[in-house]
C-alpha cells in the first residue's frame, strides 16, 4: 500500500472551529525563486494545506503576481495532474482555490528540480480536520448557501473544463478565512494523482475497492458522490461509522446504502433530504447529475428514482473462515489467498453458490468464461493468481482488476506502475499483469459501454509489445511512460531534473555537461523509453543501433538522436552537449581505418563544439562515401603491404646467395660489351685492311 494511505490512520478527534496555525519556520531552508516573480519560502511551512507527502509552503509574488500565495511542492512518485493545470487556471470562481502559477522549480532544499503549484492564499481553515470521523451538525440552510451553492457552481465549472476534481472531502473544503462560513472554498486537486488522497469513505463502492493510486480518472458523478459524503459529514450530528475499518465502511455501504450508512439515525427533512438521497445514490445511473442538482437549487422538485440494491446471496459462502454474502467482498479478498480461492473454485462450491444462492445467471456465465480463460494460460505456478483475478473480474466487473498486490482500474495502472517503480516495489507483478492481458475480459464483462475502448485496448496491446522488447526503448520503462503520459523522466542520469519533454532533456544535458563527472553515455533505458513515447521520430530510427553491442554504434545513435531533437524542435545551440558528444566519439573515429582521416575528423568535430550545432557534428559521420572510400583505400593498402612482403621475401632469398646475385646480368652485359668491341675491331680492320696491310704488325 501507498505510504500516504490515510484511511486507517489513527486520527485525532476534530476540534471545532479550527484556528489557522501560524506557518512553521525552519532556519535551514531559504527562499526559492520561481519564474522570477514568485518567492517560495522553503522555511515557512503551512501544514494545514499539505496534501499527504506534498508539502505546502508560504509564497509571495512581486510585479503582477498576487502577494499572498502558497506553494505545493510535488513528490516524484506522485505524478501531478499537469495537463489539467491550464484548464483549472482558466476557471474564475471565488469558491475554487485560484491557481496563480505552476511549473518546475529548482527546489534547493532537496537539491533537485520539483514541480510546484502555486495558489492564492485565501483558503482560511478547513471545515473539518478529520476526513473520516466526526460530525459538524451544520444547519441545512447554512449548508445550502455557504457550501452547496458555491461548490455546485465549482463542480459545474470543473465539468465544463473537463476536469474531474477527485479531491472533494471535508478537509479540502475551506471557510475562506471568515469566522462564520459565508462561502466555502474548495481546495486544489492537481498536486497528486486523481483520487490518491481520497479516503475510502468518499469514494463510491467500486472505486473504494481499488488501491488509491490506481483509481484512474473518475467522472463528475464521482465528484457528486464525494460532495454528498462531505455534506453528510457536515450535516450529521453523530458518526454512525465511528471506529470502522475501510473494509467495514465498504461493507456497511453495501448493506445499508451510502445514505443510511453515512447519516445513520440523523433525520434530515425537507428539500435537503431529497438532495442528499440524490447525491448518495450508490448506482451511478440513479445519482443526480450536476444539472439535476442545479435544477434542484432553482427550487424545482425532482422525481424520486427507484433505488436498487446490490445483489446479495440468500446464504453465505465461506472463504478463509469468513462468511460472504456479496460477491464483491468475496472476490476482493481472493487476492489475499489465491490458493484457497482456487480450491473454492475448483471444488465447484463457488459455482454452486452463484447459481443457487445468488441466482445470478449472467454472473455464472461470466464465471465459467473466466475459469476457461484462466485455464487457457496453462496451470503453471501463477495459475491461482490468474484464476483469482479472472474470477474477481467476472463476479465484480465494476470493481478493480486485482492481481497479486495490484488492484487498479484499467486507467489507473499507469500511475500505480509509476509509484511502484519509484518506490522500488515488486515490478514482476506488473509485467505479468500486462502479459496476462486481463483487459479484454474486463471490457467484455462491463454492463455499460466503456468509453474509448479501442484506445484502452490499444494501450494494453502496446504495453505487451513493449515488454517483449528487451533492449533500450522497451520494457516496463516504456510501459510507465506510455500508460502514464504525465510522468516526468525517471532516469537516474537526470534525477536532479524534472524533465517532461525532449526539450527539457536537452537543457538538462546542457547543465549536466558543465560537471566534469557527468556520465559517459547520454541514454539509459528510462531516457530511451521516455523519448520514444514523447516523440518516437526522435529516437525510434536509432534504437536498433542504440541496442547494438558495439560502443561506436551506440555513441553515434545517441548523437543522432540528440541532433534530431535539436533540429526538430528548432532549439538553441548546445556547446556543452556538443563537447560531451565529441568526448564520446573516440570509438566512432576508430571506425575509420585511415589514422590521418581520424585525426582530421577529430579536429573538425572539435572545431564545431563552440557552435553547439549537433547536426553538423553528426554530419561528419553520416556520409557513407567517406567510409566506402576509406575501406577501398585500406584494402588497397593491404594489397600493397602484401606485395611488399612478397618482394621482401624474394629479395631476402636472393641476398642469401649474394655471390651469384647479378652474375647472369653481368654475363649478358659482358656479352653486349664484347659484341660492341668486336664490331669496332672488325670494322676498323675492314676499313684499314683494304687500304694497306691488314695486320699492323
Amino acid at each position: 500500500m501507498s505510504d500516504v494511505t490515510v484511511q486507517d490512520e489513527p486520527v485525532k478527534k476534530a476540534e471545532s472551529p479550527p484556528v489557522a496555525p501560524p506557518p512553521q519556520t525552519s532556519a535551514l531552508a531559504g527562499d526559492v525563486v520561481f519564474n522570477e516573480s514568485i518567492t517560495i519560502n522553503a522555511g515557512s511551512r503551512l501544514p494545514q494545506y499539505d496534501r499527504g507527502l506534498v508539502k505546502a509552503y508560504t509564497a509571495s509574488g512581486t510585479n503582477k503576481a498576487p502577494a499572498n500565495l502558497f506553494a505545493l511542492i510535488c513528490e516524484d512518485h506522485l505524478t501531478p495532474r499537469i495537463h489539467k493545470a491550464s484548464n483549472y487556471a482558466a476557471i474564475v470562481n471565488p469558491s475554487l482555490t485560484h491557481l496563480a502559477a505552476s511549473g518546475v522549480v529548482d527546489w534547493t532544499p532537496a537539491g533537485k528540480e520539483k514541480y510546484c503549484f502555486i495558489y492564492k492564499h485565501s483558503l482560511g481553515n478547513p471545515l473539518m480536520k478529520d476526513d473520516l470521523r466526526g460530525a459538524l451538525g451544520m444547519k441545512p440552510d447554512v449548508a445550502l448557501n455557504a457550501v452547496i451553492r458555491p461548490l455546485v457552481s465549482v463542480l459545474a465549472d470543473l465539468r465544463d473544463k473537463d476536469i474531474f476534481h477527485g479531491n472533494i472531502r471535508v478537509s479540502n473544503i475551506f471557510d475562506g478565512g471568515s469566522k462564520n462560513i459565508e462561502r466555502a472554498v474548495l481546495g486544489e486537486c492537481l498536486s497528486c494523482p486523481v483520487s490518491y488522497l481520497q479516503p475510502v469513505l468518499y469514494e463510491t463502492i467500486d472505486r473504494a475497492l481499488c488501491a488509491p493510486i490506481g483509481r484512474g480518472p473518475g467522472t463528475s458523478q464521482d465528484d457528486i458522490y464525494a460532495l454528498g459524503v462531505s455534506l453528510a459529514m457536515m450535516l450529521r450530528h453523530s458518526d454512525p461509522m465511528e471506529g470502522l475499518s475501510d473494509e467495514e465502511i465498504i461493507e456497511r455501504k453495501m448493506e445499508e446504502g451510502s445514505y443510511s450508512a453515512l447519516l445513520g439515525k440523523d433525520r434530515l427533512t425537507g428539500q435537503i433530504l431529497e438532495l442528499m438521497r440524490g447525491l448518495l445514490y450508490d448506482d451511478e445511473n440513479q445519482r443526480w447529475t450536476i444539472d439535476e442538482v442545479m435544477v434542484w437549487l432553482d427550487g424545482r422538485r425532482l422525481s424520486s428514482k427507484q433505488t436498487s440494491r446490490r445483489v446479495k446471496a440468500n446464504r453465505p459462502v465461506t472463504f478463509q473462515g469468513k462468511k460472504y454474502s456479496r460477491p464483491e467482498l468475496l472476490v476482493n479478498d481472493f487476492k489475499k489467498n489465491p490458493g484457497e480461492a482456487r480450491q473454492l473454485i475448483e471444488d465447484g462450491e463457488l459455482e454452486q453458490w452463484l447459481s443457487r444462492a445468488l441466482e445470478d445467471k449472467p454472473a455464472t456465465a461470466r464465471f465459467e468464461n473466466a475459469v476457461r480463460l484462466a485455464e487457457e494460460g496453462g496451470k503453471g505456478s501463477d495459475y491461482p493468481e490468474r484464476l483469482a483475478t479472472r474470477v474477481s473480474i467476472a463476479l465484480h466487473p465494476e470493481g478493480p482488476i486485482s492481481y497479486r498486490n495490484i488492484s487498479v482500474l484499467p486507467e489507473g495502472v499507469g500511475p500505480a506502475l509509476t509509484e511502484a517503480f519509484i518506490m522500488k516495489r515488486d515490478l514482476q507483478s506488473y509485467h505479468d499483469f500486462f502479459m496476462n492481458y486481463f483487459i479484454t475480459q474486463w471490457i467484455d464483462c462491463q454492463a455499460k459501454n466503456v468509453p474509448d475502448v479501442s484506445n484502452l485496448v490499444g494501450r494494453f496491446d502496446s504495453a505487451r509489445a513493449f515488454l517483449r522488447i528487451k533492449g533500450l526503448g522497451g520494457g516496463l520503462e516504456k510501459c510507465i511512460y506510455a500508460m502514464n503520459p504525465e510522468v516526468h523522466c525517471l532516469s537516474e542520469k537526470v534525477a536532479k531534473f524534472y524533465i517532461r519533454s525532449p526539450e527539457d532533456l536537452m537543457r538538462a544535458y546542457e547543465k549536466i555537461s558543465a560537471n566534469s563527472n557527468h556520465p559517459a553515455l547520454f541514454f539509459d533505458r528510462h531516457i530511451a523509453a521516455f523519448l520514444s513515447v514523447k516523440d518516437r521520430k526522435n529516437i525510434d530510427p536509432h534504437l536498433y543501433d542504440m541496442n547494438a553491442p558495439e560502443t561506436y554504434r551506440r555513441v553515434l545513435a545517441e548523437a543522432k538522436t540528440l541532433a534530431t531533437i535539436q533540429k526538430r524542435s528548432q532549439m538553441e545551440k548546445f556547446p556543452g552537449i556538443a563537447k560531451w558528444m565529441v568526448e564520446n566519439l573516440g570509438p566512432v573515429y576508430e571506425r575509420f581505418h585511415d589514422r590521418e582521416l581520424r585525426e582530421k575528423t577529430r579536429k573538425a568535430a572539435e572545431r564545431l563544439i563552440v557552435a553547439g550545432d549537433l547536426a553538423k557534428i553528426v554530419l561528419l559521420f553520416d556520409d557513407p562515401a567517406v567510409y566506402q572510400n576509406d575501406n577501398i583505400e585500406f584494402r588497397r593498402a593491404m594489397r600493397q603491404y602484401h606485395d611488399l612482403e612478397q618482394e621482401t621475401i624474394e629479395i631476402e632469398r636472393a641476398l642469401r646467395n649474394e655471390a651469384t646475385l647479378g652474375l647472369e646480368t653481368g654475363h649478358q652485359v659482358a656479352a653486349i660489351v664484347a659484341g660492341i668491341l668486336a664490331g669496332i675491331v672488325i670494322m676498323a680492320s675492314a676499313f684499314s685492311g683494304f687500304g694497306q696491310n691488314v695486320v699492323p704488325f
Partner: protein, 168 residues
C-alpha cells in the same frame, strides 16, 4: 614396327651445315684460320655453364675480332691455302688471336663482377625502402594492414576493445 630414330639436327641446321660446307669449300683458307683461331671459343662453349652460354659468346666475339685481320690478309693475298697455313703456323698469329680470346674472358670476368656488386647494393637499398614504406603503411592504417591481425567483415580487428559496448 620400330620407330625411326629422330634426327638430332633440324632442317635449319641441315641448311646451315650445307651452306657452311659450301662456304668451307669455297673459302677453305679462311676456314683454316677460323678453325684454328677459334679453338678457345670452342673450348669455352664446351665448358661454359652460364645461362645462354653468355661467357662463350663474350669470348667468341673478341676471339673472332682477333681472327678477322688475318682472315682479311689471307683474302687480300689471293685466298689460297698456302698463305693461310703460313699465317696460321706463325706464332705471332696464334698469340694475337688467343690473346684476343683471353681479353674476351677478362671482359666477361670484369663486367660480371661490376654488375653483380652494383645489383647487390641496389637490392639492399630497395629492401630498406620496402621496410620504410611498410612502416608508413602500418602507421597510417594500423596493424590491420599487415594481415597478421584477425579482422571482421569491415576490416577491423576482431578483438578491438573499443568495438564492444562499455557501460557508462
Amino acid at each position: 614396327m620400330a620407330k625411326r630414330k629422330k634426327s638430332t639436327v633440324g632442317w635449319k641446321g641441315q641448311i646451315f651445315l650445307i651452306v657452311g660446307g659450301i662456304c668451307c669449300f669455297l673459302f677453305a683458307p679462311l676456314a683454316v684460320i677460323l678453325v684454328v683461331g677459334m679453338i678457345p671459343t670452342i673450348v669455352a662453349l664446351i665448358v661454359d655453364r652460364t645461362d645462354g652460354r653468355m661467357r662463350a659468346i663474350t669470348i667468341g666475339a673478341i676471339n673472332f675480332a682477333g681472327c678477322s685481320p688475318f682472315m682479311m690478309e689471307v683474302f687480300k693475298k689471293g685466298n689460297n691455302l698456302e698463305t693461310a697455313i703460313t699465317y696460321i703456323l706463325q706464332p705471332r698469329t696464334i698469340v694475337v688471336i688467343y690473346f684476343a680470346a683471353a681479353m674476351g674472358y677478362l671482359i666477361d670476368w670484369a663486367m660480371t663482377g661490376i654488375v653483380s656488386s652494383i645489383l647487390v647494393q641496389k637490392t639492399k637499398v630497395r629492401l630498406k625502402e620496402i621496410q620504410k614504406y611498410q612502416e608508413e603503411l602500418t602507421e597510417r592504417w594500423g596493424m590491420e594492414v599487415t594481415g597478421t591481425v584477425p579482422l571482421d567483415e569491415f576490416g577491423f580487428p576482431r578483438e578491438n576493445p573499443g568495438s564492444k559496448a562499455e557501460e557508462s
